[in-house]
Structure formats: C-alpha cells, structure tokens
Symmetry: C2
Subunit: 137 residues, 2 copies
Amino acid sequence: MMNIGEAAKASGVSAKMIRYYESIGLISEADRTHSNYRVYGTNDVHTLRFIKRARNLGFSMEETSALLALWHDRTRASADVKQIATEHVQALETRISELQEMADTLRHLVHCCSGDNRPDCPILSNLAGQDRAVGQA
Amino acid sequence: MMNIGEAAKASGVSAKMIRYYESIGLISEADRTHSNYRVYGTNDVHTLRFIKRARNLGFSMEETSALLALWHDRTRASADVKQIATEHVQALETRISELQEMADTLRHLVHCCSGDNRPDCPILSNLAGQDRAVGQA
DNA sequence: CTTGACCTTCCCATGATGGGAACCTCTACA
DNA sequence: TGTAGAGGTTCCCATCATGGGAAGGTCAAG
C-alpha cells in the first residue's frame, strides 16, 4: 500500500496524471485513508504501467481505455486487440508519411538556399508561392 | 477589397483562423468598414497564403511568425531563414523517428498476434510488461 | 512543536482549431 | 419599404494530454 507519490514513482506516471486518469474514469477511484489520501497497491501500479506503455506507443487515451478493458476481460478475443493495434499502426504510418513529405520538401528548399547574408531565399520564395516549381512534385 | 469570408476563400485560411491570427498579433489588425467589417486586400491574401503554406510544412506559429518577419525584411540574411528551416527539418526527423519506432514495435506485436477469438495476445502481454523481450530491441 | 515534504482540490495555460450563441449588417427580392 | 437569408461581429466553450501553482490539510522526523 502506497500513496500517490510512491505510485507515481513506481509507475512512471506523474501524480498529476494519476489524478487526471481517475477523474476521466480511465482508472477506478482509488481508496482513501482516513485523511483522504489516495491509496494504491501493486495492481494499481501494474495498471498505470500498462497505461504508460500504451501511451508510449502512441495510443490515444480512448484506445488505451479500450485496451485496458480488453486486458481486464479474460474472455476477450485477441482479434479485437489486434484490430486496435493495426488501426493505430496505420494511423502512425499515415502521420509518418505526412511528416516525411514535409521534411522532403523542406530539405530540398534548404538545400537550394545559399544561407549567406544576402536576402534571396528559395525557402521564402516557396512560402510566398512565387516559386511553385521548386520542391513540389 | 474584400471581406473576411472572401479573404478566407482566396487564401484557404478559415475566417475563424484569420481573426485568431489577428488576435495573437501574427498579422496586423485589419482595417474596418463603417459597419465594423474587416477589410482585406491582395497583400493580405498573400500573407495569409504564406502562413498557410508554412503551417502546411509543419512550422509552428512561432516559427511562422519569424518567417513572416524575415519575408517582410528586405535586408534579411537568407542564413537566418535557412536556420529556422534546418532546425524544423531536424525536429521533423526526430518526430518521424519516434513514430517509426512506435510503428515498428507495434507492427512486430501485431505480426505475433494470432488475431482469433482466443484471449492470448502478445500485444496485451507486452503492454502488461510480462513480455519485455518481444519487440523491444 | 515546528519544519518540510507531501497530500488535497481547484483554476489556469498550453497550441491550433472548430462550434455555437447572441446580435448586427448587407443584399436581393416581392 | 419590409423582410429573409447570408454573412459579419464578439465572446465563450471544447478539444487532447499535460504541467504549474495557489491555498490549505496531513504526516514524520527532529
């Protein structure tokens, strides 16, 4: 049995976030001591670590919530978990492509910019739209 | 001379955002008609398009603001523009790596998950931390 | 019995954007 | 000339996940 600060250290989730997770119903309300302090056990810490790992893999709170529910459901079908994960992989790939496209365009513009003390700059020209041919396939 | 709705259409920036950009000082305060309607000219539309392009390349409002200032400064050194762009490319690359790492880990887990109606699931096992060897180099 | 660390709740801020209410203005048409 | 509807104005709220901080209660050690 530990208080919120210890649970935070043990799980890697800040005390602030533990309270927030409780407030939005992601985790159940913690028991309290006579003096109103929240009390956590090892199971709670495991749950918090689960959440932390899911967040580190980029799952949204909503997805994390769904994963948590499946984790606690002994009769789950792994297909349900797999679907959430697969969709998230696709979302990640979409986002990566978008960022990659931005980076590619910018790298090209940066490459074309002399980067000296003169004002002429293909980066600004591109942003100004006076240079649409540069770096846009 | 056009009103905010026309400027929005011409620039691709929503009226809502145009007002917001004005409120945070990214663009100067628009002139008003006698009836308090904002009025925009072609220069304003060019500026809005510039902002739109910068945002599409993933620049933050702060970076966009700096780029706008450089654009308007005829005595700028292209090196200053290049630096902002280079730093942004690096930030994009960092973010891409992070997402890529998440996607790689998840793809592996998804690959290992049978995805049937049985409860056993390496994805959940990994999140629960009972499976640290899987998918984590 | 005090001090300092930690807990509690509550409010505010982020960044960029959209939604919507309440109200005003303009244009077109009968 | 009256009215309808489109579109303008300001202001507040919500998002998503997180942190900061104030005001006040609690606990443990000295």
